[in-house]
Amino acid sequence: MTSLKTYVITRVLLTIPMIFILLTLVFFVMRVLPGNPVIAMVGMKASQRYIKQLEHELRLDKPLWEQYVDYLNRLLHGDLGRSMIWGRRPVINEIMDHFPATLELTVWGFIFSVLLGLATGVVAGVKEGGKMDFAMRVYSIVVYSLFIPWFGMVLQLIFGVWLHALPVGGRINPLLTPKHITGIYVLDSMLTWNLPALSSSIRHLMLPSLTLGIVLSGIYTRLVRSSLIEVLGQDFIRACKSRGLPERSILFKHGLKNALIPILTMMGLQFALLLAGAVLTETTFSWPGIGTFLMERIEYRDFTTVQGTVVFYAIFVALISLIVDLIYAYIDPRVRY
């Protein structure tokens, strides 16, 4: 297991330059161009003196490189700093307020897309080159091209406005908000056995997570398909066939099972796409997640918060792919690092 340990350490160390590069890019793009959080926050009525005073408090009057070094130094100590506007709360608290909403949405979107992707991918992969294969390939391109805001709005119109079946915005009925444990409402309401809250949060989740799930399922269709085709072409499957095992059993017991391992690794890579799609989904469904939060803080040029959110995204993406790699290493004994 020591080799695994070194591997994990290397991977973690490798995320540091990644964060550093993205942060540097964002830091300078943001500060060199006009616009600053103080003016955005206080609005047009504030006096020049007051603005100067706030800029001084936020150290925005310091030279750029000094601010940069200062920020990196804090970051090294695990401090994302404080927001520059509205209450100047610690950035990490702000992020943690909004992150559970995004996590809830992406996890459900992920589940939907994997399920849809598995179903369509298996249909496609069973008979390569067949009509169903072609249909599923077309499916994968079509759903991927469905522009998320448009698709989301169509679902809102059908299920929200015409059928009155599902709510089309927000996370939960405000009066039912469960006790805060994880911030993930479905989980919190299950933990506190609060059924009305569970029902309300699931109903609110349906449309956004379906939108995200359907659009991204196309990617999984392709992954499952190509991985299944590869496995089905291997010798041991032929051996099974020659032994006269039933098709279905070959497919599910041997084919799919072995195809799942490479699919799993690819999932980690797709998580970035899921997060990007979540930004559009959140905007369309007024979902109070980290994407809508980032958009708002960009508008106000809340430097520290935008930087912190970028760092957070980077760490999150790196973490997911690390976890997936570890699971892979655990499942597939051939892999050794």
């Binding site: 405000p174 009066l175 699931i202 109070p288």
Partner: protein, 548 residues
């Protein structure tokens, strides 16, 4: 063999997930799809003791949705409309406004006297004032709070610093405020929440306390605040006045107007407050399940010309653009008639308002006049006036792009103007404006206090308009405005302000576009919403009848 075992595990996990989803879907459909009244009548927070049975016919909880946000819960630093609305309900100032009017009424004081030619104010506080935690509130607390604002020097501190020389406690319930110079509208200033007393035990004396929910003396107290999500208010048992009909008020914050409308329709909220889309207001008006409340607004929108930048330093050019502006098309097309055209910076309904721009340029666009003026300024079909119009895409709502497009269209109808439209996000927009780098900009104004002074002085007085990039200065206007500030007779002040409005129409430094109306939409069972130029909801007046 090991491998197959683990894969089986993976399959089991997947099957489990499927089962959970199916269960969830089934569960979610068991709930009746319309969940309107039953949830809201249920007291989710502690039902407080005394008057419970007397108020049985009113719902205990009312949920209000808004797209606004709380900026800072410290009165020494908050300076925006919505946060002030919360303050008006949780921390009263010495004075306030009678709901539905622009008349001042006494809140925390029983009386006040003005002496020394308007420079000294003596306030007599009520003797039964208590903060939300039950500790008494006296003149000492008021003095401490006012001095705290001055010490912290936050955004709204000018309400104190610009006017006040000194504040003294005369006895437990009497306070003296000495002004630097007589200010005719100082009682209106005493109604802003910056003058609200807060408990010195709960607020740090020289630091801003942004998420502080301690509050002051008001009909409600804050029991929970989750930024950008919700704010929960409960009646303050120690309030001196009558207890409100609704025990708990929940404010829900929404990202945009669409979300707000949907929340109303799904029954999540009882009242949709600012700001719904015009099209939603129109369509909800036709729906008998909802009540649409309408009131005069004191919110104005206008175009600012940077008069230091050619060709806008030319008065003829500005006049021509003012003449060509098509207010009706903006009001009708973009806002579907939910706003009113405005022909002065002082809004209609406020005393001293004069339709100066209408008098000078007519109510509808006068293209002939505009052409004549432009030709006089030396422009022709071959030598068009080229200007750049800036707008900001989200701060004033999603309608702003359409407003800019229509202004461009109206100006180009003269055939002598070519308009380039550009946009910048709010912070960039403000910064560039302040630096005087934007030629033509669109802005909006919410008043701080209801007095014509607040609609003219900050725009037109030399130095006071620094936030617009110091675009112009005019001695006559300065004199008139200074004179009106110390004049005590309202008739005389009105005459001065009318003169200023006429000069503005002639100079056209700033061109008014429209004035907002106020809308709130509620469920049928909701009553007690009073909308007036204060542009705030008084939660303590709102109630919801429970059927059956």
């Amino acid at each position: 063999m090991k491998r197959s075992g683990i894969s089986k595990g993976v399959l089991i996990v997947i099957v489990a997930i499927i089962i959970v989803i199916i269960a969830a879907v089934v569960l979610s459909y068991k709930q009746p799809s319309k969940q309107t009244t039953p949830t809201t009548t249920k007291p989710t927070t502690t039902p407080s003791n005394a008057t419970q049975q007397a108020q049985k016919k009113y719902a205990d909880v009312i949920v209000i949705g808004t797209t606004d946000k709380v900026s800072d819960l410290d009165p020494a630093n908050a300076y925006d409309f919505f946060t002030w609305e919360v303050f008006y309900n949780t921390m009263e100032a010495p004075l306030g406004y009678i709901p539905g009017t622009t008349k001042l009424e006494k809140k925390l004081i029983t009386n006040y006297e003005v002496s020394n030619e308007g420079k000294v104010y003596i306030l007599h506080l009520r003797k039964d004032l208590k903060f939300a935690d039950g500790t008494p509130c006296t003149a000492k607390d008021l003095k401490w709070s006012i001095e705290r604002v001055a010490r912290i020097q936050g955004d709204p501190s000018w309400f104190v610093l610009d006017f006040m020389e000194d504040v003294k406690v005369l006895d437990t319930y009497t306070l003296e405020i000495d002004l630097k110079k007589p200010v005719s509208f100082y009682p209106a200033v005493l109604a802003v929440p910056t003058y609200a007393p807060i408990p010195s035990s709960k607020y740090p004396p020289d630091k801003i306390s942004s998420d502080n929910t301690a509050g002051g003396v008001g009909p409600y107290k804050i029991v929970k605040f989750v930024r950008d999500q919700e704010l929960i208010l409960e009646t303050n048992p120690y309030y001196y006045g009558a207890s409100p009909k609704t025990k708990t008020v929940v404010i829900k914050f929404y990202k945009d107007a669409t979300a707000l409308r949907l929340a109303l329709q799904s029954g999540e909220i009882d009242v949709a407050w600012r700001t719904l889309n015009p099209s939603d207001i129109i369509s909800l008006k036709k729906n008998s399940n909802y009540k649409v409340w309408e009131g005069a607004g004191s919110y104005i929108r206008y175009i600012v010309f940077n008069t230091k930048m050619p060709p806008l330093d030319n008065r003829l050019v500005r006049q021509a653009l003012a003449a060509a502006l098509d207010r009706q098309s903006i009001v009708q097309k973009v806002f579907l008639g939910t706003v009113e055209p405005l022909y002065s910076l002082v809004p209609k309904g406020m005393w001293s308002h004069k339709d100066s721009f209408k008098d000078k340029y007519g109510a509808s666009p006068d293209l002939e006049l505009a052409k004549k003026l432009l030709k006089k300024a030396g422009y022709s079909e071959n030598h068009k006036l080229r200007i750049t119009l800036w707008y900001t895409p989200s701060h004033y709502g999603s309608t702003e792009a359409d407003v800019a497009s229509l202004i461009k269209e109206a100006w180009e109808k003269t055939g002598l103007v070519e308009v380039t439209v550009k946009s910048a996000e709010w912070s960039t927009y403000l910064e560039l404006t302040r630096k005087g780098q934007l030629p033509v900009t669109l802005y909006g104004w919410y008043p701080d206090y209801l007095d014509p002074d607040d609609y003219l002085y900050p725009f037109l007085h030399t130095g006071a308009n620094r936030w617009l990039g110091n675009p112009f200065s005019n001695n006559t206007v300065d004199e008139l405005l200074d004179k009106a500030q110390i004049e005590t007779s309202q008739t005389k002040r009105a005459q001065l302000y009318e003169k200023v409005q006429d000069i503005l129409a002639d100079q056209a430094w700033i061109v008014p576009i429209f004035q907002g109306k106020l809308y709130a939409v509620s469920k049928r069972s909701v009553g007690g919403i009073v909308l007036d130029p204060m542009m705030l909801l008084r939660y303590y007046l709102i109630y919801k009848q429970v059927s059956g």
